[in-house]
């Protein structure tokens, strides 16, 4: 589904990612973790080319994505993305946020798009708010809308970038529940998160990054009980000590 080979990225002279190799099979669920600044966001943003990489190859569903390529939109439609800060469009109602993509990209009629959107809103347990504007919703609700918006594109894979870290504690559970449901339905997903409970529950593999490199890839049980690298050990101890 996603294949990253020897991918490198620099910001100017600063090496943000170095020799990244990662293959995610269809239906697989990967959790990425690591200290702040380790390049987690940068890595998953390269997958749909919100950031351009400079070396190596990235294949999404068999198609190579390259910086400056034409029709990058076509690939982005296959890839749903959820951000830490939701990034809903504040000037549109929830429903309009959801139907915008299907209507513009796939030429869906308004009725079709609305039906689809309402379906996903049900799924994230928020159909009652369809007519409201994003700022009127709580953070947790907004994040669930953001997930629904990504799902409306019927993506083959979902990328999550710390979807719960901007939320108040009470809100986190609701969003995680939605993500767990999605995982159980078999959606392929790559998820940057520090919610270790979530990782334990749904992840097929955990990827640990530090300083722009993948340090360790392991199954969650193994990773949590017996991290191989010193840095992962340190990271986990801090996380649990917190």
């Amino acid at each position: 589904m996603v294949e990253i080979k020897h991918m490198c990225k620099w910001y100017g002279e600063f090496s943000a990612l170095h020799d990244i190799n990662l293959t995610v099979a269809e239906g697989e669920r990967v959790v990425v973790c690591g200290p702040s600044g380790s390049g987690k966001s940068t890595m998953i943003r390269c997958i749909n080319q919100l950031e351009a990489h400079q070396k190596g190859t990235i294949l999404v569903d068999g198609v190579e994505v390259k910086p400056g390529m034409k029709n990058i939109e076509l690939i982005r439609r296959e890839v749903g993305m959820v951000f830490q800060s939701f990034n809903l469009f504040p000037h549109m109602t929830i429903l309009d946020n959801l139907i915008l993509g299907p209507m513009r990209n796939r030429g869906a009629s308004k009725a079709e798009a609305t039906e689809l959107a309402m379906g996903y809103l049900e799924r994230v347990h928020i159909a009652g708010q369809a007519g409201k504007y994003p700022p009127q919703l709580s953070g947790g609700q907004q994040q669930r809308v953001a997930i629904a918006r990504a799902l409306c594109m019927k993506p083959k894979i979902m990328l999550f970038d710390e979807p719960t870290s901007a939320l108040d504690p009470e809100m986190i559970a609701g969003v995680l529940d939605v993500m767990i449901e999605l995982a159980e339905e078999g959606m392929t997903m790559i998820c940057v998160t520090h919610e270790m409970g979530f990782a334990r529950k749904v992840a097929d593999r955990v990827v640990f990054m530090d300083e722009g490199e993948i340090i360790e890839i392991a199954e969650p049980q193994e990773f949590f009980s017996n991290p191989q690298s010193d840095r992962a050990q340190l990271f986990l101890s801090q996380l649990l000590g917190h």
């Binding site: 400056g68 530090d210 300083e211 490199e213 993948i214 360790e216 191989q228």
Partner: protein, 283 residues
């Protein structure tokens, strides 16, 4: 099966390898620049043809004495050079006064004094809501004789009051742009109002104020053209006089525009170079 742990390279050791020249990106860039240049060229040609269509007789050979004449081996500067000098003088003096007015007005607006705020507000509204040209006429024909101000100073003061209103807003923006915590920090160590502004607020607002303020001063050079209507002998006046003597309107206008452009662009570039060197020494 992927290995569990990878051997890692420390970040400092990962030199950025030359990925090789991206030929496609380069050709695209060149093509786009060429396109833009082409469009500008076409526009230039169209304007030139416009002049042609008017059957205008270019008399560029007549313009040299506008700059200088050599009489008995001595160089006598022509009206355009004299005008430019006068323009620069005008802009410098009124720029200085404008900045002073700007500071006064900004402080008046931010102060607790009711009268200060009212006067500053009316000053700003009056300037903002009337054309500069009308202000100049009022200033020169009505106020100047009443207070016995001469022509040059009438022009200077009028420009200064006009640009001063913009300077005031820039300065006020800079001052209010300083983080509120800084005011509280200064209050908390018991500084009085004057010290608070002198040591804490103004030094921090200067980096916010200076770039737009230099922009303002550069635009002052352009705006000073307007004092030609009260016959202050600056560059535009010199140009207008030449036009009415010789009727060579287009040559003179192009020359005048070229001189203004040269001056403002030179100033903009040197200011941005200066700013860059300032930023560099800071780090």
């Amino acid at each position: 099966m992927q290995s569990r742990t990878a051997a890692s390279t420390p970040r400092e050791l990962r030199v950025r390898e030359e990925v090789g020249l991206d030929v496609r990106a380069l050709t695209r860039t060149i093509w786009q620049v060429a396109q833009a240049v082409l469009i500008f060229l076409v526009l230039g040609v169209l304007i030139w043809r416009g002049a042609q269509a008017m059957e205008y007789r270019w008399q560029w050979y007549r313009v040299e004495p506008f700059f200088y004449r050599v009489i008995d081996g001595e160089i006598i500067w022509g009206p355009l050079v004299k005008g430019l000098i006068q323009t620069l003088k005008l802009a410098a003096v009124s720029g200085f006064i404008a900045v002073s007015i700007g500071f006064l007005t900004a402080f008046a607006r931010l102060s607790n004094s009711i009268a200060g705020r009212i006067i500053a507000k009316w000053y700003l509204e009056a300037i903002r809501n009337t054309p500069l040209l009308v202000q100049l006429f009022l200033f020169y024909f009505v106020l100047a004789p009443i207070f016995g101000i001469d022509r040059f100073w009438a022009g200077v003061l009028c420009l200064a009051f006009f640009e001063g209103s913009f300077a005031a807003e820039i300065i006020r923006g800079g001052i209010t742009g300083v983080d509120h915590g800084q005011y509280e920090g200064a209050d908390a160590i018991g500084l009085n109002v004057v010290d608070k502004y002198r040591f804490v607020v103004i030094p921090q607002s200067l980096p916010l104020i200076l770039p737009p303020l230099t922009g303002l001063l550069i635009s002052l050079i352009k705006h000073s053209a307007i004092v030609s209507v009260i016959a202050v002998s600056e560059l535009t006046t010199a140009g207008l006089n030449l036009i009415s003597d010789t009727f060579m309107a287009f040559e003179v206008w192009f020359l005048v525009a070229g001189i203004y452009l040269a001056v403002t662009v030179t100033l903009s570039i040197s200011v941005s170079l200066f700013e860059r060197s300032l930023n560099k020494t800071k780090r």
